[in-house]
């Protein structure tokens, strides 16, 4: 995984993208589902399209599969324009959200279905089906019908079927959506292993940000038919481009500020929420008086009853709620002006005295490099 991802082809201008989505627009009547979208995806990437429902991510995936025609623009796969090629002739396979297993065929026949369309000799088909069954560890279930399988097993059959033809590109539409949390987490790692083993390019659509963070080489965050940000999970989480991305990925506290200028610590802001000055190391091009926002993740806020020694980045309020999460606790702190912020603290000591409790007056403090300044 790390080896694959340590090579970041998107940073290397000499690398040729494997999938090129060029100025693609998709309209359904008057409704624009995809609005002049450009995206390059590289070979062996595990690319996630992430966004709220209705953002166009599924439409984009279905255009890659060929189920929807592009209204404008074109899609290239390995340099070849595939925009006009019907789905059954594309070297692309898809794993459906509903799995779409053929109910009248056994597991074996489902997996063999795609291979039969290529008129491969029967012994080669059998061999490949066997390989796929081993890959997803379902050899004992070969003769079962889909309705005799559990959700997790169906999911693996669907994966095996879509990989059997060794597609150039595998599309996965909410592949783990129907599984329970524990199985989903386990399957995420299996997916990553399989992707690495078979060296297939994966494009996955999901609305589950944790899933996207776990499995992806890069994430494309979509909203209203546009790509808002395309970056690695770390970049998306730590350096979101705007409030929407910051808010969509993980928990975040977003505070409004007014730009005061630069100094040796960094950008200086004034916030209505804080009595102290706010510093962020990030440099922004703005002029005095501009409105901007700074986003701080809950785990980057230090919470304590003692007033910090630093003279900046201080908020104070009262603890309104505590959510004990085992490995960590989430504190909801109400500021004097009524706003509620979240702070997370790891529960590092087992016998910790619960010296923070409801209605305690607390200070929130963060390092200048912990907050992200957002212009929009």
């Amino acid at each position: 995984m790390s080896e694959l991802h340590s090579v970041n082809p998107w940073l290397d201008p000499s690398q040729k993208p494997y999938i090129q989505i060029e100025n693609v627009t998709k309209k359904f009547g008057d409704f624009t589902a995809i609005d002049n979208l450009n995206l390059d995806i590289y070979k062996n990437e595990f690319f996630s399209l992430l966004g709220p429902s209705g953002c166009g991510k599924t439409t984009l995936l279905r255009m890659l599969a060929g189920f929807e025609k592009v209204t404008n623009g074109r899609i290239l796969l390995d340099g070849e324009d595939i925009s006009e090629i019907p789905p059954h002739l594309r070297p692309i396979n898809m794993m459906f959200q509903s799995y779409a297993l053929f109910p009248h065929m056994t597991v074996e026949k489902n997996i063999a279905f795609g291979l039969k369309q290529d008129n491969l000799p029967p012994n080669e088909i059998n061999q490949r089906v066997e390989e796929m069954l081993q890959l997803v560890e379902l050899t004992d279930f070969a003769k079962r019908k889909p309705n005799q399988l559990s959700g997790g097993q169906s999911q693996r059959v669907a994966l095996a079927r879509s990989l059997a033809k060794r597609p150039k590109l595998l599309l996965l539409d909410e592949p783990l959506g129907a599984l329970d949390k524990r199985l989903r987490e386990q399957t995420q790692f299996e997916l990553m292993d399989i992707q690495e083993k078979l060296e297939v390019t994966f494009v996955i659509v999901t609305h589950d940000q944790e899933e996207a963070m776990t499995v992806s080489s890069r994430i494309g965050v979509m909203d209203s038919g546009n790509l808002i940000q395309v970056a690695t999970p770390t970049e998306i989480y730590e350096a979101p481009v705007n409030k929407d991305v910051a808010d969509f990925i993980g928990d975040v506290n977003i505070l409004r500020g007014i730009y005061k200028g630069q100094n040796d610590v960094g950008t200086q802001l004034h916030s209505d929420d804080s009595d102290s000055i706010v510093f962020a190391t990030q440099e922004v091009g703005a002029s005095t008086g501009d409105e901007m926002w700074f986003a701080i993740r809950p785990e980057k806020l230090e919470i304590s009853k003692k007033k910090p020694t630093d003279q900046y980045n201080i908020l104070n309020g009262r603890i309104e709620d505590i959510a004990y999460g085992g490995s960590f606790s989430t504190y909801h702190v109400r500021l004097d002006n009524g706003r509620i912020l979240k702070a997370i603290r790891a529960n590092r000591v087992r016998t910790e005295e619960h010296h923070l409790t409801w209605e305690d007056e607390v200070y929130l403090h963060w390092a200048p490099h912990s907050a992200v300044v957002l212009l929009s």
């Binding site: 599969a65 060929g66 189920f67 059954h88 396979n93 898809m94 459906f96 509903s98 053929f102 079927r161």
Partner: protein, 274 residues
């Protein structure tokens, strides 16, 4: 029980002998001097059926007509049901309504209407002649063709409705999955759509085949004297020959022949449920 009672009654008559009386058959049980009644059953009516080749021919001819018209109805019904199921949602209600609409008039009137269309100087011939496709009228009335037209027309809704119910709830993503795996649309139809609609096909075929076997009105009104169907024979025995026992025997044998497909139908329904 409701189902069995008429059956037992008909069975009883079929074992009697015809007499000139009201009712025109002998009693099955005779109350003599002893306490127990003696049974006077006769298989003569049955033997008579097998001695006269007319009846066997009528059964076979009915079977042939029922099979051919079921196949015709299936082909036409499947294409209609498929188109309706594929139509935009807002159109489906209207289209389905059109399928059911003929039921608003009496079955008999609809068959009579076909006489008006098919007869020598009927609408069809007039239309074809006026646009110059034919110069002398086609003889359709009183042929087997007219019977097939009548049967297919009358029983089409019984084929379409179960097929539609089946096709409409078919998961469209299965067809997409087939295409995605490299299957051409036509092949997808044969390897995915048809196998998955088998319960609908069976239901539709039985709903058409079983009543057509015993159909009497359509061959009587549209068919000629040469069109031999067992329903017509039964009618003749009953009302013209007034031979109730033979007529009942005809009905019992027809039922016996139909029990096989009826049982197959029920088995397929049970299978569809489980």
């Amino acid at each position: 029980m409701f189902f069995m009672l008429p059956f037992i009654f008909v069975l009883k008559i079929s074992l009697a002998e015809p007499i000139m009386a009201i009712p025109p058959y002998t009693a099955l049980l005779e109350w003599g001097d002893s306490l127990l009644p003696s049974i006077r059953a006769s298989l003569e009516s049955y033997l008579f059926l097998f001695s006269d080749s007319l009846y066997i021919k009528a059964y076979l001819s009915s079977l042939k007509i029922a099979i051919i018209s079921t196949i015709l109805t299936l082909i036409i019904g499947y294409s209609i049901a498929y188109s309706v199921a594929k139509a935009p949602t807002r159109w489906r209600g209207v289209l389905l309504m059109l399928v059911i609409l003929p039921f608003w008039t009496s079955f008999l009137i609809r068959v009579y209407a076909w006489i008006g269309i098919l007869k020598t100087e009927g609408l069809l011939n007039l239309a074809l002649m006026s646009i110059g496709i034919i110069d002398k009228p086609l003889i359709i009335m009183n042929t087997d063709l007219a019977v097939y037209i009548g049967i297919v027309y009358s029983y089409l809704p019984f084929m379409i409705l179960p097929l539609y119910a089946n096709l409409e709830k078919m998961d469209m993503s299965l067809l997409e999955a087939a295409a995605d795996l490299g299957c051409r649309p036509f092949k997808t139809f044969w390897t995915v759509t048809i196998p998955l609609s088998i319960p609908g096909i069976l239901a539709g075929c039985f709903l058409v085949f079983i009543p057509v076997m015993g159909e009497f009105v359509i061959p009587d009104l549209l068919g000629g004297t040469k069109t031999l169907m067992i329903g017509k024979v039964l009618w003749t025995e009953f009302f013209y020959n007034r031979d109730w026992p033979v007529a009942s025997a005809v009905a019992i044998i027809l039922l016996a022949l139909l029990v096989v497909p009826i049982m197959l139908y029920q088995k397929s329904q049970e299978k569809a449920i489980s």
